[in-house]
């Protein structure tokens, strides 16, 4: 006997060892349960991280835009409307009023990690006989590339943007028959035309987006769209992506701008992420419950099987507290050992799944994220579940009348 182990541990281990098959089956059950939880949690964390990375590195977390232009009805005196119907005005390309001040204010917020002005509008890209409608984003590369990782999406050329440069989507390049180094005629709706050189081709992961997207320098866009010195949006990234909407509301309340968070602009995606999290939580909860009931069932049977032993131990002077601890420990040990095996199973399954499931281009479907905290949490939670599940059988064992237990 190990002299460092207390009586309760020795008895608990021996009881579990003696009921080998029973112990083996319940540990297998717990291991499968924990394995499913570990596998699903890590898989979903990886998928979610991947989705979020793809979505949030190709668009800002919060975008500030000028408020909508509203037509106000003329009045012919107090409470008297001149016209019953007021036509909704078209939205001209206008600049954010005092955008430099607003950008500096945004950068001073602790929640904001980057802010960059953008001049956005539409134009026509012409190369030879081919022409395509495009959306132009005029950006300051240094600050903008911290928000939208354009260099990461470059598939050809480089992410260079001087006043004569343009980066275009791969589909647009295909439509225009352009490659890096070619010149494009960019014509704004006002008639202003510029000749720009293609410095890079980007793949943003969406065909429609790749057909329209172009990036130019901020000053180039301002000249082309006729809004000298102005910007149409201020793009930002924030520390906590899930707090983006709250922050957007606060910014809107204290500045003369509209603030759209990625949560609103990607409502469907965000709902999908939330639904995934809820379903994952529900699955984990029900698996944990079935594990808990499994442990409790085995220990209830064990208490019945061992009632004579319990009676003898009580007759020999073992206290109710000691008996209680013997059975609680059994629950905790089952949970802990099951969690260790389950974590190993979950991790092995995940590694296999990660290597087997590949996208058509051979790249990974999701990043393999095996955080130590996941395994620690699984072990702690499974042990606690085991202890809790063992509570009822342990109390029952502790309350057994020794005389009746011995009599059987």
């Amino acid at each position: 006997m190990n002299r460092w182990l207390p009586f309760e541990w020795i008895a608990a281990v021996r009881f579990l060892r003696e009921g080998r098959m029973q112990t083996l089956f319940i540990i297998s059950g717990i291991a499968i349960g924990v394995g499913v939880i570990v596998f699903m949690s890590a898989l979903l964390t990886g998928l979610e991280a991947n989705f979020i990375k793809r979505v949030l590195t190709s668009q800002p977390h919060i975008q500030l835009i000028p408020p909508d232009q509203i037509a106000r009805p003329q009045r012919n005196g107090p409470k008297v409307l001149e016209d019953a119907i007021v036509q909704r005005p078209s939205q001209r390309v206008i600049s954010i009023d005092q955008w430099l001040k607003i950008r500096d204010r945004m950068l001073a917020l602790p929640e904001v990690t980057a802010a960059s002005p953008t001049m956005a509008g539409s134009a026509l890209a012409i190369r030879g006989a081919a022409s395509r409608a495009i959306s132009i984003s005029g950006v300051e590369p240094t600050s903008y590339f911290k928000i939208v990782r354009v260099p990461d999406y470059i598939v050809s050329g480089e992410a260079r943007l001087t006043n004569q440069d343009i980066i275009i989507g791969i589909e647009l390049a295909k439509d225009l028959g352009a490659v890096v180094g070619d010149k494009l005629n960019i014509q704004a709706a006002s008639g202003t035309t510029m000749v720009l050189t293609v410095t890079g081709l980007v793949d943003l992961g969406n065909k429609g987006v790749n057909q329209r997207t172009t990036y130019v320098a901020l000053r180039t866009a301002q000249s082309l769209l006729g809004v000298i010195g102005g910007v149409t949006t201020i793009d930002m990234t924030v520390q906590d992506i899930y707090a983006a909407e709250t922050l957007a509301k606060l910014i809107e309340a204290s500045n003369h701008v509209e603030a759209d968070s990625w949560i609103v602009t990607n409502a469907q995606f965000f709902t999908a992420v939330q639904a995934q999290e809820i379903s994952n939580t529900m699955i984990r909860l029900f698996v944990a419950l079935s594990v808990a009931f499994g442990i409790a069932a085995v220990l209830v049977v064990s208490v019945i099987q061992r009632s004579k032993d319990i009676g003898i131990l009580r007759a020999m002077g073992t206290s109710r507290g000691q008996i209680l601890r013997v059975f609680l420990l059994q629950g905790g040990m089952l949970g802990f050992v099951g969690a260790l095996l389950g974590s190993a199973m979950g991790a092995a399954g995940l590694i296999y799944w990660h290597s087997a499931m590949r996208l058509a281009d051979g790249s990974e479907l999701f990043p393999l994220i095996l955080e130590r905290s996941l395994f620690i949490d699984a072990a702690v939670l499974a042990t606690l579940t085991g202890l809790l599940a063992a509570m009822a059988p342990a109390l029952r064992a502790a309350k057994l009348d020794p005389a009746e237990a011995i009599r059987g």
Binding site: R3, P6, F7, R17, A315, M316, G317, Q322, A403, I406
Partner: protein, 227 residues
């Protein structure tokens, strides 16, 4: 009185009090057991011997009357104190020996000492080995309890009952499941412990031959002491 290990005064035991199935199992039991005495408790099946033994062993409480162990009135004690008194004063030997199958013979003997001390120690192991030697089983001390013969198991049970050096050993038909030779050997072992250590024994038996070899016999019939 000073030498008394045990005294029962007007002890009654009633089951299902206040219900239609109320049954009085023991009626006004009065007797005392002196230090070093070897007492046989005989009587037909269902006469209340086992109930009486459970009450004396502090496994059950009397409905009325007083049970004094080593001068201490047990009716005033709470559950923890009863458990402590039982562990330190009383040893049990059962008809079916009731060894714990998850442990070896030696470990079964260590159990009461371990439950009391909380942790194993060389002293506990030494004490258990000495007791195994005393019951002549030192060579098979490491065997699992269930791999021993009935007589050997009962000897282990006696060693276990003596582990805490109790003042009183209660034996409920300790030879009931043994052949004549083993029964005689086990009984002689208890007698020897009684003589050498002065431990008092209260032995429930159906075997009149063995009962006659005790210091005193008490017969229980229908829950009353006959003589």
């Amino acid at each position: 009185m000073a030498d008394e290990v045990l005294r029962l005064e007007n002890v009654c035991k009633v089951y299902n009090v206040g219900r239609p199935s109320e049954t009085e199992v023991l009626h006004d039991i009065d007797f005392a057991l002196e230090h070093g005495e070897f007492l046989a408790l005989i009587g037909p099946s269902g006469s209340g011997k086992s109930t009486l033994l459970n009450i004396v062993g502090l496994l059950d409480r009397p409905t009325s009357g007083r049970l004094t162990i080593k001068g201490e009135d047990t009716s005033l004690l709470g559950d923890a104190a009863i458990t402590h008194l039982r562990g330190h004063t009383i040893g049990f030997v059962f008809q079916d020996h009731h060894l714990i199958s998850a442990f070896s013979a030696l470990e079964n003997v260590m159990m009461p000492l371990l439950a009391d001390a909380g942790f194993p120690s060389p002293e506990i192991t030494k004490r258990a080995q000495d007791l195994m030697a005393r019951v002549d089983l030192e060579k098979v001390a490491g065997n699992m309890a269930m791999n021993m013969s009935g007589g050997q198991q009962q000897r282990v049970a006696i060693a276990r009952a003596l582990a805490m050096n109790p003042d009183l050993v209660l034996a409920d038909e300790p030879t009931g499941n043994l052949d004549t030779k083993s029964a005689d050997s086990v009984f002689e072992l208890m007698r020897q412990v009684n003589r050498e250590s002065g431990t008092s024994f209260l032995v429930v038996t159906h075997n009149l031959d063995l009962a006659r070899r005790c210091d005193r016999i008490i017969e229980v019939i229908d829950g009353r002491i006959a003589h």
